[in-house]
């Protein structure tokens, strides 16, 4: 991306942030939708494995979203001279989505009963996940923005070499998201299996109390 993709005529070298910032933001928003889709699985079947999948998907998307927000802020400072622009719909709407999903974990933590926790969290994930594309459409309809519109629903306003690097970056970040999602899922499954084994082999009274947790057990 530093050597193959040509320098942007108007922004110069600072435009290279685009190849990390935009994929992080796209994958983050996609992750929130993915979490909502997985939550539908829980609401349909009642299987808590779906809730766990949804929880991890949203957790990962939140991390990627924070990355997208920070890299975007750095790009804004270099490009516009400000870390944040409050009258820019794209930035503010992304922040709203991020803050909305930031309430997901505290909401889970506030509910002690595991069944209720899973049910409420799934409903939240579905509703908030549906809000993401609606929010994108609303921002697309806004006219007063300074945020560059490189990708639209109809076309990509990029030269082919830049487009190729962007697609490679997007695929790379998506694969990273999927890998880390699978990694965390494996870790959480292993932990819950160990706890289940303790209960089965040693009896309930010998198992230490798990305590209140935001994560599905």
């Amino acid at each position: 991306m530093f050597f193959y993709a040509p320098l942007d005529v108007s922004q110069g070298f600072v435009q290279k942030i685009f190849y990390i910032h935009v994929p992080l933001a796209i994958v983050s928003l996609g992750g929130f939708i993915f979490g909502g889709v997985l939550a539908i699985g829980y609401l349909r079947t009642g299987d808590r494995a779906w809730d766990m999948r949804s929880y991890v998907a949203i957790h990962m998307a939140l991390i990627f979203g924070v990355g997208g927000l920070i890299t975007g802020s750095i790009w804004a400072k270099a490009s516009w001279g400000h870390w944040w622009v409050w009258n820019e719909p794209t930035l503010v709407s992304f922040l709203i989505v991020l803050l909305l999903f930031a309430t997901y974990q505290p909401m889970r933590f506030s509910i002690e009963d595991p069944e209720r926790q899973s049910r409420y969290a799934s409903v939240f994930a579905v509703v908030a996940g549906a809000f993401v594309p609606l929010n994108y459409l609303a921002v697309s309809l806004a006219t007063a923005y300074v945020h560059p519109r490189v990708l639209t629903l109809n076309s990509a306003n990029l030269p082919p070499s830049m487009g190729l690097v962007f697609v490679v970056s997007l695929v790379g970040i998506t694969l990273l998201y999927v890998t880390l999602w699978k990694f965390e899922m494996a870790a959480k499954n292993a932990r819950s299996q160990v706890r289940r084994l303790r209960r089965t082999l040693l009896g309930d009274d010998t198992v230490r109390p798990v305590g209140r947790s935001a994560a599905p057990s």
Binding site: K16, I20, I74, K77, A187, L201, L202
Partner: protein, 75 residues
Amino acid sequence: MSLLIASTPELPLGTSGKYVAAAYIVFVVLILVYVAIMAMRAQRLERELAELRRDVEEAKAAGSSPPDREHEAVL
């Protein structure tokens, strides 16, 4: 390696170089912090697993000893 570095075109870093570097460093640090947290959790899980194995072996030993002793007494 030095040949490879010498053959690569020079980047027009200018004043924007530090911003680009900062953005990519933020990304790498974020991933590293996440991996470090997951590594700590994996270590904790390993400890829990070892503890479980020890407890199961102890329970097994405690459960199997009386019949063994009985068997020995009969003999």
